[in-house]
Assembly symmetry: C2
Homo-oligomer: 391 residues x 2
Amino acid sequence: MTATTQPLAAAHGVGRALRPTGKVLPEHARAHNRSLVLAHLFHTGHASRADIARSTGLTRVTVSGLVAELIAEGLVEELGVRVEGKVGKPATLVGMRTEAFQIVAVDLTDDAHLRGAVMTLVGAVVARRSVALEGRTGQAATDLLESLCRDLLAVATRPVIGVGIASPGVIDVDGTVVQAPNRGWYDLPLAADLTESLGVPVHVANDANTRALGEFTYGSAAGSGCMVLTIGEGVGAGIVVDGALVLGRHHAAGEIGHVTVVDGDARDEPPLDCACGRSGCLETVLSVPALRRRTAGLSTEDSDAALASVGRLLGIALAPVVSALDLAEVLLSGPPELLDGALRESALATVRARTMPVIGHGLALRMGSLDEDGALAGAAVLVLSGQLGVS
Amino acid sequence: MTATTQPLAAAHGVGRALRPTGKVLPEHARAHNRSLVLAHLFHTGHASRADIARSTGLTRVTVSGLVAELIAEGLVEELGVRVEGKVGKPATLVGMRTEAFQIVAVDLTDDAHLRGAVMTLVGAVVARRSVALEGRTGQAATDLLESLCRDLLAVATRPVIGVGIASPGVIDVDGTVVQAPNRGWYDLPLAADLTESLGVPVHVANDANTRALGEFTYGSAAGSGCMVLTIGEGVGAGIVVDGALVLGRHHAAGEIGHVTVVDGDARDEPPLDCACGRSGCLETVLSVPALRRRTAGLSTEDSDAALASVGRLLGIALAPVVSALDLAEVLLSGPPELLDGALRESALATVRARTMPVIGHGLALRMGSLDEDGALAGAAVLVLSGQLGVS
DNA sequence: TCACGTTTGTTAGTAGACCTTCCTTACAAA
DNA sequence: TTTGTAAGGAAGGTCTACTAACAAACGTGA
């Protein structure tokens, strides 16, 4: 038993805030509760004011007030009386007017084309437009993107509540593109610039993160912890942990494509050079071009063996991440003929073999439930979340 | 250019909430702002009401009200007039009464002893107590813990605002021990039970997570993303991402000790059997006993080589995690004579070699700045955070 | 058939929280 | 002594959500 009086830090001025916090005003509380009501209607489809009151914990009076405000803005409408015969006064249902507004979403994942769509608030595609990039970068690429957005805004048949853009590269929370080498964008405040020029709120986020958002909101991703691995020209990931997207120190979280997975001293295969200047990166074996090269001309059996060996490498890289974050799911997004077979099974078996049973046993590793529109859907979620607080 | 009308989900009832949200009342806003004021005083040491108003964004009137409330509760006191001569009425400084209250912290990391301390609000140890566990588990261990807490509460010279406990095992957000095999605890509502029997608020969290909190608040950990790797009998980790502790699906995040790092086909060393029933786990090479066995009787040179080879294995396991989360720092907590040398340098070099330059280059991998009291300090932070909203 | 209980949604009044505006106090500089 | 600046507090207003009470609408059971 000893007693010391040495403090762990000076008597004053210790530490720093765990989470950047700001003041909260009553009006912020109201905005939060308003989003709560709207989100409930978004997720359940329709409900009575009393239903909403019960599930949010607010009183019927407060909910009535919020619903009235939402109806006045045109976001919500009364749907008539509930038909189910129960005792008491029948409820008048209200629902979100998901067809009354539209969202413009753009996916910049592809190096050759800008793909965009007009969507309803529930993610249904109303119209599509795409333009060839034809090698444009920098300002020329920005101009082309802006004109695509204008086209889409013109095609929309309802008021557009915002534009969502999924872009490759490192993008901060304000929608500034810190760097996107393939587009020649560096420190470009894309969201702010387009919001200014288009006159509509614009939200921009990384394409892998966006895809994770899309899977999460419209797909089947688990909220308690999941990772969406996007496999295309490159390999990227978006990670949702404890219900929130992981951003990282440089907003570069999920950049898992350039982790070394093939060592120089490996017996079975030599490391391949990577575009990043190093060699043996995950991208050199798992990207779609790499997988196609690897399986080209092989018999089904040999092809499966090749895919399984890539799956094993993926599993080795995933195991520490899955363990450290206690993830519930890993979703793969990309060509199913390459991914959804020997590769996926081998990766899952590898992760299970290399992690604690409690972690690996319940883990799901499967294909994402959205197709190539995943990034578009996620871009729409950016707008829903940013403009309406719904997600 | 095509147009489809197929929705990504049914017109109603899509998705689920991104983050579990609840209603926010004006009184919650006040509690938040109160914590904001207190946290400012905790971090800066002392300030005038006007200073606080400027840095929080609240008005002087509101801050005065909150400060008056805090003074009435005895948490804050006036410190006299600021001496620096500037124009205008001199400011009366206020500060948190960090010596007026105490915290009881207990560290259950050790398998043989329960270690506890009475601490001030800034983490200075006022008194220590420890008791030998002597093999007790289950209810006997709980009883011993409770009596240690009572001893510490009796030793405290000031009112105790709460008890913080750092325990090994899987622990949920309510302080229920889901499982802690070494203590024989399963589904034990430890925080609730002790709060009831001691009559003081009790907070319980995993010891690795707690240590991360301690490093974060009193130490030098980076808030934007860091991982504190605790190396003792076993290997565990606490991870702070985007300013919040990662919990994971089963509240088992950070359980990185049982990731396989030694393969069966490795040329240089065979995988060792692990207590978890598998083999080749990180813990079989990185735990303190394993490191001591490995370096016992070796010359300095050979010992460094052995430690470097373990560091390389650690680096291989860390690289995917660092990349996926874009971590700024990895801190090691454990015996410096084993960790802070060839092992650390080799691990850092390995991580840098196996990740993108933008990720690995700025990464710091160093020893935690707190010693063996790290878990105690973190337990104190649990109380500060839970009772006062300060962290 | 009809009183009764149940449920819904609204109106009225209350309490809390913050803001803006204005005032007093206190000091330094001219 | 005058002037300008800054701190702190008091008064009044706005916003938010709550409780209490009530009317409307419906099923149920005597």
